[in-house]
Amino acid sequence: MEPIERDLDSAELELFAEPMLLNVGPAHPATHGTVRIVVELSGETIERCDVQVGYLHRGFEKMCERGTWSQVFPYVDRCNYVSPMLNNVGFALACEKMLQITVPDRCQYYRMILGELARISDHLTCDGAMAMELGAFTPFLWMMKTREMVWDIMEEETGARLTHSFGRIGGMAKPPTDGFKAHTLAVIEHTGKVLDEVERLLLTNRIFLDRLENVGIISGEEAISLGWTGPVLRASGVPYDVRRSHPYLKYGEVEFDVPVGGKGDCFDRFMVRIDEMRQSVRIIEQCVARMADEGSVNVEDPRVILPPKDEVYSSIEGTIQHFKIIMEGLKIPPGEVYGYTEGGNGELGFYLVSDGSGTPYRVRIRPPSFFATSGLERIITGQMIADVVPCFGSLNMIGGECDR
């Protein structure tokens, strides 16, 4: 064996006493969007941090000012690619608020069912990814499998798995398919079972609980001041849900609870999402029971809805009406409106300014993720570096929506 020739005195480690800067992201596996977190560490404790977003900025709002109102739908799809249907419906409702039209009851229930399915897919993704990042891979796979079943419904209804572009001003692109109700009921039954299994697997897991409990605590007042809405706000004990406080569609008529958390830590944010999925299942069950099997899903207003195809191809009136809506865009009266719905991550608002032409003058989307991410700095300062992962995961930052 060779003798150690190293002089131990001169090999003393130079330890840095000053804080160290560490760059997390923008391409880090735990930053599901693309976000860069610059942290200043003292040992393992975060003393200061700077959250930098914008890596997925695509000029969404500028692009919306170039087409017709209907051409905004594909853009809002791509804002939130985990629950695009909620964005579709939110934008459609804001436009309908300006046009002062109300879609038929069948369409309202249809929108609610699709929206709640999208919410389930959103929360499944968030909670599954959160568990995976903390080492629990099995629940992630179960939840992704369930999400795929939800997306099978979407694919059957809309033709697209992810970016549906299915909403229309004044209705939906297509009426529900024949097997829609049976398919939905089967999937939500399965969802309930998966949630029970996931809870059994995770909520008795010491490692999982230790990583989440008492980590990233934020009080209700602070969360309100930060503009947090949705599950992250409710986890801090503030029972604010747009569906309950300002009901739209038929949310005033269905029964559901608004789950709230106690402490506002990462565990509460995880559990609020699990409970919300159960409430979504309840809402879907009621809506499926109430949705009519027959009837139109569109308003009967030739100014906003395209005529049936057989009229377009056989009558001059139908052709002209189709041409005007497609080429000029439907005319929304001049003015401004703020339409808000409960998106997957909180209050999803659309501030629309119209000048009366067929093109939007200004489309401002109020992204819930943007405000949630702005609070990340506050909740991880003072925590350990390893806590960045559950804290960031629990906020469910959707890059497309945050950066637009």
Partner: protein
């Protein structure tokens, strides 16, 4: 309910509410830019309005009008359940002197919202603690959501941020060739490209 709120604002600030309307069910007041902070502070603190949350802050560009920009906030009271939109008009025709008081002392959500508004529309907020670009990068020229910014405009390429002697630095340690390396931690902004210039 909310109509009463409009009257309340008009009574509290006589002559300062330039116009108000409730089109499409959204109550709106337009105030002068110099009253921006005072009106918001009152709306937040008065128990009759009790606007706990600043939901959104943005601006709209009207190049044909003077003042050119409309800064818009949406407020909500979670306790009373009412909402209000507040607007103020700022800026001259060239898009200069677009400045208004920052609301960051009142609501923490104003921080990023104002940064985004500054970034995309070039509205500067007096008193904001950290007014820098948020969605776009520091070298970006212009403000893309202004109506005079053409959507097709290509931005100049950002020159490579040169780090001197990058081949010679050790992969780890105090001289690692990154802008966020240990040598630069004392600088106020870690993303500042100048931070990596002065070292050899």
């Amino acid at each position: 309910m909310a109509k009463a709120l409009l009257d309340l604002v008009a009574r509290r600030f006589p002559g300062k509410v330039l116009e108000s309307h409730a089109a499409f069910g959204d109550e709106t007041v337009v105030v002068a830019a110099e009253d921006w902070y005072a009106v918001h502070a009152w709306l937040r603190d008065d128990p009759a309005s009790d606007m706990q949350m600043l939901v959104d802050l943005t601006a709209v560009d009207f190049p044909s009008r003077l003042p050119r920009f409309e800064v818009v906030t949406h407020l909500v009271s979670l306790r009373l359940g009412h909402r209000l939109r507040v607007k103020a008009r700022v800026g001259d025709a060239e898009g200069q002197s677009v400045s208004i008081a920052s609301l960051t002392p009142l609501w923490a959500s104003a921080n990023w919202a104002e940064r985004e508004c500054f970034d995309t529309l070039g509205v500067s907020f007096a008193g904001h603690p950290d007014l820098r670009r948020i969605l776009l990068y520091p070298e970006f020229e212009g403000h893309p959501l202004r109506k005079d910014y053409p959507a097709e405009l290509a931005q100049p390429l950002v020159p490579y941020r040169d780090v001197p002697n990058i081949e010679k630095v050790e992969p780890f340690g105090p001289y690692e060739g990154m802008s966020f390396g240990r040598m630069t931690h004392h600088l106020p902004r870690v993303t500042d490209p100048k931070a990596i210039q002065g070292r050899d």
